[in-house]
């Protein structure tokens, strides 16, 4: 990941040297960073921590592209201040795969079903789907559609996304375990 480079004058203006320290875990790893109080969790993840998988599609909570999990619950990272992440456990798309790089069942099924086209909504979709399956391991198609209703996709018509989530649940049921 490329380092964040700041102009030396950046922090000197508008009292923005008033950065605060945040300690949290991101994808299981402890992370400490300082951030201006007005920064969103989305901007902090993307440009302070360097995890750009989480996308900015609207920055006002309308599209769901920035969905991450905070203590397991799905959150629009653009609507949460980075400071509020202090002490919390954040999960992003980069944390879905296992330590050895093995794909999460949702990632595998999204690939198999062709559930991504341009890919911009995909990270948010995956995180929302993960939250759904954690709560409801065997959702109906309607439940999947309603769970994903806050995540806009403009390419796929949602057909293959819904299919991928349903297939993941089915696969987990056959293996007798809920997906991670």
């Amino acid at each position: 990941m490329s380092a964040v480079t700041r102009d030396p004058t950046d922090n000197a203006i508008f009292g923005r040297d008033d950065t605060r320290a945040v300690r949290c875990t991101v994808n299981g790893e402890p992370v400490a960073f300082t951030v201006a109080p007005y920064r969103t969790l989305l901007d902090a993840l993307r440009h302070e921590i360097g995890l750009t998988g989480t996308k900015k599609g609207c920055d006002v909570g309308d599209c769901g592209a920035c969905t991450v999990l905070v203590d397991g619950a799905p959150v629009n990272a653009c609507l949460m201040l980075a400071l509020e992440a202090d002490g919390r456990a954040i999960e992003t798309v980069e944390g879905l795969a296992g330590a050895e790089g093995e794909l999460h069942p949702l990632q595998r099924q999204f690939m198999r079903c062709g559930a991504a086209q341009c890919g911009f909504c995909t990270p948010g979709m995956l995180m929302m789907a993960k939250a759904l399956l954690a709560e409801k391991p065997a959702p109906s198609e309607t439940e999947i559609r309603f769970a994903l209703a806050g995540n806009i996709c403009r390419c796929t018509g949602y057909t293959k996304i819904v299919e991928a989530v349903a297939e993941t649940a089915k696969e987990a049921a056959q293996e007798g375990q809920a997906p991670r």
Partner: protein, 781 residues
């Protein structure tokens, strides 16, 4: 090289890799979060740019004062019209004249729509840049605001353009000379008709609403060379426009376009901000990132052209169409963008789909002070076929015929002359209609033989409470490629390495369709090697061969054929080399699954062994170049739709869609289905809810967000049962393959409007058809 002359372009060849849903190469990056989009990039010393947008729709800037903004700590540069080169350019960097209009400056003294860029700032952070925008003072001398084409075409209307020295002078607010298409004799045709149907059809202003807001990142090196990272469909066109406007040789501009989050046609254009980004980077001598907000994608982006179509047709009692006359007026908004192209393609599309010998069509494109309309999936044809297909339904009712039978009777067939002037290949449309009728149980009633309006559609569900149900059929055809409007070209390079693996270098864009996977399949198929042994390099104008870009449903058709030609050349070299090793004539060799064989024998050598360096002989390095300029092929579709109308709320819900598409040859079934499903989704949105709303007095955008601009969500989408046919392969595409990108958005609209009529007996001739309008019309009847 003509495609027909290409050896091995067998339309009926049995293929092993093409036609299977191999693992898409881009998806691993997309599901892991590692796929890189322009706004993900951070460079050392990078500044952030923001654009100041006008708060009036039509005015001359009297005074613009940037001194307070420049004094703000952290602001590094501010640009206004006084600071940028005054070069008139094409808003879209398409090949000129035929499609686009040269009518835009980077920044102008005159403002032509609400939200037009009037200044730009580069600062150390987005927040400082944003703050600086508020400190720029602009005073305007306001001019009359013309939002509708009627206002703009009034005899005394203000001129929105007209003083630009390089612009062809046209009367009034015309973007381009009107398009006129005449075939046969409409007067005689109408005289021969037993029935004349005529109506006014109107299209709203849907917007592509791609998920990734526009972004560009520019930096210059010590030699004055410009690098542009950008979210675009047309990297080489961006390079050309940047070079032209900034006065640089082409090899001094490098455009990098990796993954990007959707474009749907609109990201063919340049939007002022890319030039501003480059100029800010030049002035500050630092990298500059220009990332739009979602709101800006509405204000400064591109929509479909709002349209008014007057359409009149004559019919014989047996359903024969005797004459067709139409006037189409497209609202271009403040700049021409693709107006001329959209008008030409949309207008001429009415010569076809349903056969008619006597045709008289006139299409006009008019400047207004609305936001800019441009290229958007379906390119003028969405509007035209919405009108045409609904009117066929109206005629069927009046003639007492089944709409499907009427459409079948008049469907274009093999040998008919297409809008492009080319003869149609195959009976694709007929095949689509018949197959769909079979699929949904739409009885194939012979014309005129069934009673009462011959509603042969699938059995209607009986009303349930306030719910009424109905079926509708909509049809379309669309060209792969923009020919003859422009002459396109795709190029590909294939390199085969010492171990038998190969790399495809392509200039086609990574639009998200899976096109690069399709191209790799084509290369693997042609070379006779495994799909996994092909790697695709794209998105860097310094490296890949020139390509016109991704639009006009032509990537697989044109880029695929270029890739096939390049692979064929490498295969020729490979077999020549193998011939020496196998002591056989190259013409006796065949290669399949990575093995070269002397035909009919068991003398074999793996491709890897053929390519292995010999003793003391340097490693070979096979390179093939393929260049392809297509003419035209047409794909076809028939969409069958069931809707539910709530007569108490006016809410229309699409219950199921059966889209049947004839595409010549399916290269990747899952990706092709994905195109259809996504097109259906956008089409449902356009028909029922999506409209970029403009205040008719001020020209101000009223709904620039995803809450106020309502697109279909996961729970709004019905089941979509896509059927892909390969009955009319076109020799111009790889193994007969044609386009699929634009087709699915065209037929769904009229299918929904026709289904609403079937459900409640109310005819809608516009889109979007909102619940309020449905309720109002239901009360009237």
């Amino acid at each position: 090289m003509s495609a027909a002359a290409l050896p091995g372009n067998g339309l009926d060849a049995a293929l092993g890799i093409v036609g299977t849903s191999v693992r898409r190469s881009d998806l691993a990056e997309k599901v892991s979060g590692s796929a890189r989009y322009t706004a993900d990039i951070r460079l050392p010393g990078m500044l952030f740019a923001r654009v100041k947008r006008s708060t009036v729709a039509h005015a001359v800037i009297r005074r613009i004062d940037t001194s307070r903004a420049l004094a703000l700590p952290g602001v590094k540069a501010v640009l206004t019209h006084a600071d940028v080169p005054r070069v008139l350019h094409y808003g879209s960097p398409m090949p000129r004249a035929a499609s686009c209009t040269k009518d835009q400056y980077i920044l102008d003294r005159k403002v032509r729509y609400w939200g037009e860029a009037v200044a730009a700032v580069a600062a150390v952070s987005e927040e400082v840049a944003e703050e600086a925008l508020a400190l720029i003072e602009v005073e305007y001398d306001e001019l009359p605001v013309l939002i509708t084409t009627e206002a703009a075409e009034a005899p005394d209307a203000a001129q929105i353009h007209g003083n630009e020295p390089d612009r062809e002078a046209l009367p009034g607010n015309l973007v381009a000379p009107p398009v006129r298409v005449a075939r046969g004799d409409v007067e005689r045709g109408f005289a021969e008709a037993d029935l004349i149907v005529e109506g006014l059809y109107e299209g709203g202003r849907p917007t592509p609403a791609y998920m990734e807001p526009n972004a560009s990142l520019c930096h210059w090196d010590e030699h004055g060379r410009l690098t542009v990272h950008i979210s675009t469909q047309t990297a080489f066109m961006v390079r050309g426009a940047m070079a032209e406007v900034l006065g640089l040789p082409l090899n001094q501009v490098r455009v990098l376009a990796d993954h990007f989050g959707g474009g749907f046609g609109a990201k063919q254009d340049l939007f002022q901000s890319e030039f501003l980004c480059a100029l800010l980077a030049k002035r500050t001598r630092r990298p500059v990132m220009m990332e739009w907000t979602r709101k800006e994608t509405f204000l400064g982006g591109r929509s479909r052209h709002p349209v008014k179509i007057w359409l009149k047709q004559g019919f014989k009692r047996d359903g024969t169409i005797t004459a067709r006359q139409a006037r189409l007026v497209y609202n271009s908004g403040a700049y021409g963008s693709h107006g001329p192209g959209v008008t030409a393609v949309g207008t001429s599309s009415l010569t076809s789909l349903y056969r008619c010998d006597n045709v008289l069509l006139e299409g006009r494109c008019v400047y207004t002070n609305a936001p800019i309309a441009g290229a958007y999936r379906g390119y003028g044809v969405v509007q035209a076929y919405y009108a045409l297909d609904i009117q066929l339904d109206e005629a069927a009712l009046k003639l007492g015929l089944d709409p499907a039978a009427l459409k079948l009777k008049n469907a274009v067939r093999e040998g008919d002359i297409a809008p492009s002037g080319h003869p149609i290949v195959g009976h694709g449309l007929e095949d689509c209609i018949r197959r769909g009728m079979q699929e949904v149980g739409w009885a194939s009633t012979p014309l005129g033989s069934s009673p009462d309006r011959s509603r042969a559609a699938p059995p209607k569900r009986p009303p349930q409470g306030a719910l009424r149900f109905g079926w509708g059929l909509g049809c379309e055809m669309h060209g792969s490629s923009a020919y003859p409007g422009i002459k396109e070209q795709g190029n590909a390079l294939v390199k085969m390495h010492e171990d038998g693996t190969a790399t495809l270098f392509t200039g086609t864009a990574a639009l998200g369709t899976g096109a690069h996977t399709a191209l790799a399949q084509i290369v693997a198929e042609e070379l006779g090697v495994a799909f996994e042994s092909i790697h695709v390099v794209h998105g860097d104008t310094d490296i890949v061969p020139w390509d016109i870009g991704a639009f006009a449903s032509h990537t697989t058709y044109m880029g695929g054929m270029a890739a096939k030609l390049a692979a064929a050349e490498v295969k020729r070299q490979l077999l020549e080399r193998a011939a020496g090793l196998l002591e056989a004539a190259a013409t006796d060799l065949e290669v399949r699954a990575g093995v070269v064989r002397v035909a009919g024998t068991d003398r074999i050598l793996s491709v890897r062994d053929v390519m292995a360096p010999g003793r003391g002989i340097p490693s070979p390095h096979l390179v093939g170049h393929g260049s392809y300029s297509p003419t035209k092929s047409y794909s076809f579709a028939a969409h069958f739709v069931e809707v539910q109308v709530d007569v108490e709320t006016g809410q229309v819900q699409v219950l199921q869609v059966v889209p049947v598409h004839e595409v010549g040859r399916v290269v990747h079934p899952v990706a092709a289905q994905g195109q259809v499903e996504g097109g259906v989704q956008q089409g449902i949105g356009h028909t029922l809810s999506e409209n970029h709303e403009i205040d008719p007095v001020t020209g101000r955008t009223l709904n620039a967000s995803f809450v106020d601009y309502k697109m279909p969500l996961a729970m709004d989408m019905p089941p979509v049962r896509t059927i892909l046919l390969e009955t009319a392969p076109d020799p111009g595409g790889p193994w007969g393959a044609k386009g699929i990108g634009e087709d699915p958005i065209i037929a769904i609209g009229p299918a929904i409007a026709n289904a609403i009529f079937d459900a409640v007996g109310v005819r809608f001739r516009h889109y979007p058809i909102t619940p309020e309008q449905v309720l109002q019309r239901l009360r009237e009847v």
